[in-house]
């Protein structure tokens, strides 16, 4: 199968308009302000995100969506990762795919009904992420499913690695269910989000290496730094190419589970490796809470465990077929 991985004019337009909205309303710097944590800033921008069509992007026009596909959704999810937008926005992109009721689907697409991720820890426990205001939850427990709030009642807040996302623990019936196509879509979009983190941290490290001077020159002139930056660019490019390749062929008769697992493994590794390298390249500043570098590392860890484990991805990939 031949795929064109360059963006069409329409895709460039979508990418540019989403990036512009996020740069205006949800720039990474917002997270320096605790008042904007727990998706507070996202909730203020929710109707603008809905108006741009984010929540119905991959839904057929006959079902109230924009009739685009997984590539456009992945493009948006990458932009969400670049700006560390709440995972609830990714959940909201998935919810219309999972909603069987026409009214509920329309409400999700319009942004009137809200959702958030519930991520199974084991058969009896799950984490809820930025769940404030969510009427339904997108549960990731092997498969992906929409569940009512009542199935995850009385959550207790817990402190998480990423203080910018609210985390709660809840007891319920979360036993693993068989993998379904929407779980693959969820994993694909989360992989795209992770490539956004990989790209943002690479850009941040390159910008710093080009301006920070020591020994009378920018540190990026030294190969020890330059080569790290090059490796960051390569692993971000590889993960991104695989995510977009998997998105293009998604639902077109290839082994989606294997393609998505490859994307998820590489995107997770790229996000974590680049987030760590970015901290290292920023030196002492990178270790402080004043520098945004830590936000990317923490978010990468949080997203990496949503509906995914290395072992499960590796097994799917080994048992699958890659063309």
């Amino acid at each position: 199968m031949i795929v064109d991985l360059t963006l069409s004019e329409e895709q460039q337009l979508i990418d540019a308009s989403v990036r512009k909205l996020l740069a205006d309303r949800l720039p990474v710097e917002r997270l320096r302000e605790p008042a904007n944590h727990a998706a507070a800033a996202e909730h203020e921008a929710w109707s603008a995100l809905a108006e741009l069509g984010l929540f119905g992007l991959g839904i057929p026009e006959a079902r109230g969506g924009l009739g685009l596909g997984a590539p456009e959704e992945a493009l948006v999810a990458r932009a969400l990762g670049l700006n560390l937008v709440s995972p609830a926005v990714v959940a909201q992109m998935l919810a219309p795919h999972l909603a069987e009721d026409d009214g509920l689907r329309a409400a999700f697409i319009a942004g009137e009904a809200r959702t958030a991720f519930a991520n199974a820890i084991d058969a009896e426990n799950a984490h809820l992420l930025d769940h404030g205001g969510a009427q339904q939850l997108v549960l990731l427990s092997g498969g992906a499913a929409l569940i009512p709030r009542s199935a995850a009642a009385d959550p207790s807040p817990v402190e998480g690695i990423d203080e910018t996302v609210s985390l709660a623990r809840v007891a319920g019936a979360f036993a693993a269910v068989p993998r379904n196509a929407e779980a693959d879509r969820a994993s694909l979009l989360l992989a795209a989000y992770l490539t956004g983190i990989a790209q943002a941290t690479c850009d941040m490290a390159v910008a710093y290496a080009g301006t920070r001077e020591q020994f009378g020159q920018p540190i990026g002139a030294f190969q020890a730094i330059k080569h790290q930056c090059a490796d960051m660019a390569v692993c971000a490019a590889a993960a991104e190419a695989q995510v977009f390749h998997a998105a293009i062929t998604f639902g077109h008769g290839v082994d989606d589970a294997a393609e998505v697992s490859a994307a998820r493994l590489l995107a997770g590794d790229a996000a974590l490796a680049n987030a760590r390298a970015n901290i290292q390249i920023h030196g002492g500043m990178g270790f402080t809470a004043e520098c945004d570098a830590h936000l990317f590392l923490k978010r990468a860890h949080l997203i990496a465990v949503l509906g995914s484990s290395r072992r499960a991805e590796q097994t799917r990939l080994l048992n699958g077929t890659i063309i």
């Binding site: 031949i2 290496a209 090059a230 590889a238 190419a241 590489l266 590796q314 080994l318 890659i322």
Partner: protein, 391 residues
């Protein structure tokens, strides 16, 4: 981002597949020497006779004149059919030919392109020198003008199949007074010309593919300068760009097949613990899964590079990403193979894992070391400043 398909392209793919099925040589390819050259040229001639040579080359020189899409389909099907590597024809088909198409004049193209496609003549490369490896622009092989001729003195090294080639794409310094990138010319050198001495170099794998070439007052017609006198650096960068771009499709498919083979081996091989099969060992399974993820990404990176190639006439520095990824991955795949096979891995014969392991080192060195590629990515793609001693 989209799938590219049409009934015409699918029909073309079917035609490729069926021709290859009937025509890929069954006999074993000789590993080196004249016998290998004869095999590689005969296989090229067979492709030409079948109408499959130079799928995207101009029809006036014997090509099919089709788009890069058909070329890509041909490369894919070629690799999947297990067709032999282009070997002694590699430089002619992947470097010299494409460079002549972009930079050659009418007479040069008419003289050299058809014999390449017909498998009548092959080429080698004369770029690196003992003192000019990663720092290629410091090359010293000197050419002075004498009437209608260039007179060449100096030496070139790492010339694959130099002892088996008819022609050479040769970089010489034609003006030592110009800035170092400006005084270089790209010339067509006849490997049978008087004054050429070729000495084979044995590689660590035991294969003798490399040579060092010495030039002692070798006379080359000025008409053999490609792209203009003292313009050779620009002409050569085009060639390297081709190598770093679509040139890797065959290698990528081959490496994928190697990982598949390794997974199949792990499913058969008894586990080192004596309990079950090697693949049942979680550490082994994890290693193999990551290699599969990476060869899959290599495929996607190659596709991205080819997609860009459909829009740009000349490949950009992005090709370094694919080449770096391939070189490093290739070494790791073969190192994992020896690790997995244990005592069986040190035995030659059969698939000959040790040979492939030893040969794989070249992918992170030849055509630009991994370190030089990281410099190029850092400086030309990311815009980082040049190092303290770079010129």
């Amino acid at each position: 981002m989209r799938i590219i398909t049409s009934p015409e392209l699918e029909m073309f793919r079917d035609q490729c597949r069926s021709w290859l099925k009937d025509n890929v040589p069954r006999e074993k390819r000789p590993p080196e020497g004249e016998a290998m050259r004869a095999f590689d040229l005969a296989w090229q001639k067979r492709q030409y006779d079948g109408g499959w040579a130079g799928v995207s080359w101009p029809p006036e020189y014997g090509g099919r004149g089709l788009s890069v899409l058909e070329q890509l389909i041909w490369h894919e099907e070629y690799a999947r059919a297990g067709a032999p590597p282009s070997g002694a024809m590699f430089v002619a088909l992947s470097h010299a030919g494409p460079t002549l198409i972009v930079s050659g004049n009418e007479a040069q193209k008419a003289r050299h392109l058809p014999p390449i496609l017909k498998g009548e003549e092959n080429w080698c490369q004369g770029f690196s020198e003992p003192g000019a490896g990663s720092d290629l622009a410091s090359l010293k092989c000197r050419a002075t003008i004498d009437g209608d001729y260039l007179v060449v003195n100096g030496t070139k090294i790492w010339t694959s199949y130099g002892h088996l080639a008819d022609w050479q794409e040769l970089l010489v310094r034609t003006d030592p007074d110009l800035p170092r990138h400006k005084g270089i010319s790209w010339v067509i050198c006849d490997m049978k010309a008087p004054g050429i001495d070729i000495r084979p170099i044995r590689a660590m794998s035991g294969l003798t593919h490399f040579t060092q070439v010495f030039y002692d007052d070798v006379r080359i017609p000025l008409a053999n300068v490609v792209g203009g006198l003292n313009n050779g650096w620009r002409v050569a960068m085009t060639t390297l760009g081709f190598e770093r771009g679509t040139g890797t499709i065959a290698h990528q498919i081959e490496l994928s097949a190697t990982v598949d083979k390794l997974i199949a081996v792990a499913c058969e091989l008894p586990a080192a613990s004596g309990d079950g099969r090697a693949i049942d060992d979680q550490a082994v399974a994890a290693d193999l899964a990551m290699l599969r993820a990476e060869v899959t990404a290599l495929r996607s990176l190659t596709a991205a590079s080819v997609s860009r190639g459909m829009r740009e006439a000349v490949p950009g520095p992005e090709g370094n990403i694919v080449a770096l990824y391939f070189g490093e991955l290739s070494r790791r795949v073969h190192a994992t193979a020896l690790d997995l096979l244990g005592p069986r891995g040190i035995e030659r014969g059969g698939h000959d894992w040790p040979l492939h392991y030893l040969e794989a080192f070249k992918w992170a060195i030849g055509g630009g070391t991994s370190e030089i590629r990281r410099n190029a990515i850092g400086e030309r793609l990311l815009g980082l400043p040049k190092g303290p001693n770079a010129r």
